[in-house]
């Protein structure tokens, strides 16, 4: 529980940093930064695979990574990839900002509220209605940047997050909200 709270706090903090880069340096700079963050992340994951452990990175992953992931660094790589997807495929900085908020706050809220939730979703017994509602409500903060368009986008994100898919939700939610923004 404590570990999950720490993980989600880091999730939100990373989102704030990404948002700050976007607002102060622009969409192009965020896309470039996330591109290199993902590449460096992959290199670190490879070092871990081949048995070379870097002290600070190992500490970080041990503290903030979930235990049920395919390999160490997986969650962080998926989160960075999710932000990269929004940064490169969405045309406006406001949409990217809203997407970052959804990825950071939506996921954190759904995890923290969902853990205490009681009503199981009929199509996914691993998730709760309270968790999905928390995702949707927290995602509405993106209204500050995207305006009323946030409603269907947040709904698409909450729906995708509630599904029992074999893919990491940082990526599926990023694809869902990016597609929703582009289609709407």
């Amino acid at each position: 529980m404590k570990r999950e709270i720490e993980r989600q706090a880091f999730h939100v903090l990373a989102g704030i940093v990404a948002l700050a880069v976007l607002l102060y340096l622009g969409k192009g700079m965020l896309a470039g930064m996330m591109f290199f963050v993902v590449l460096i992340g992959l290199l670190l994951i490879n070092l871990n695979f081949t048995g070379k452990k870097l002290g600070l990175v190992a500490w970080f992953l041990e503290r903030f990574e979930r235990t049920n992931v395919p390999f160490v660094g997986w969650g962080s790589a998926c989160y960075a990839t999710g932000v990269l997807i929004a940064a490169v495929f969405l045309p406006s900085a406001d949409q990217v900002a809203a997407a970052i908020i959804i990825l950071a706050l939506g996921d954190a809220a759904s995890t923290l509220v969902g853990m205490r939730g009681k009503i199981k979703l009929p199509y996914n017994k691993k998730k709760t209605l309270e968790g999905s509602a928390a995702f949707f409500i927290a995602s509405l903060t993106g209204y500050l940047f995207a305006g009323p368009m946030i409603l269907p986008v947040a709904l698409a994100g909450a729906l995708m997050e509630s599904l029992d898919l074999p893919f990491d939700d940082n990526i599926t939610v990023a694809v869902a909200i990016t597609t929703a923004f582009l289609v709407i």
Binding site: G28, N46, P70
Partner: protein
């Protein structure tokens, strides 16, 4: 043109330009990628997995290129070698990054990363792409390989990567 694309395009190096133009040839690039997969991976099942991921990446790239319909920088400059299709995301970079991800758990990963970065840079050198096209290629490659990896684990009960 963004600063990174402009920097790469303004590099005046004949050898780099020739190598970039050689990689620009789809037949040369395809043969090179197939040769790398066959040389670097000995297991037939993993080879099929990599080729499947490359195929998915190829399809994703075509769909996204048509959906976004972004004109290539070289088309705007009127360069004669410029490919006729759209720019975003870079197909060459998507394929090279997919190949890179396929070897994520190997000691040779850094070689594939260098190859992917060189292929990506070569696209900027001849202005076939802008940096945004290269940056978009990375998540497309990751998602493509990830999809195949999940399907492989689910239906062939194999270990990841």
């Amino acid at each position: 043109m963004d600063p990174i694309t402009e920097f790469a395009f303004n590099i005046n190096n004949e050898l780099l330009a020739q190598a970039s133009l050689l990689l620009n040839n789809n037949l040369v690039f395809t043969v090179l990628v197939i040769a790398i997969v066959l040389f670097a991976e000995r297991r037939d099942s993993k080879r099929i997995k990599i080729f499947s991921a490359l195929l998915i990446a190829f399809v994703f790239s075509i769909v996204l290129k048509s959906a976004f319909a972004v004109e290539r920088p070289c088309a705007q400059l009127g360069l004669d070698y410029c490919p006729g299709d759209y720019s975003f995301p870079s197909m060459h970079a998507t394929i090279a990054f997919t190949l890179m991800v396929a070897f994520l758990n190997k000691r040779s990963f850094w070689v594939f990363m260098l190859f992917a970065l060189f292929v990506s840079f070569s696209r900027l050198v001849i202005a076939a792409h802008s940096f945004a096209d290269i940056a978009a290629a990375l998540p497309v490659a990751l998602v493509s390989y990830y999809m195949i990896d999940v399907l492989w684990r689910r239906y062939f009960n194999e270990k990841g990567n």
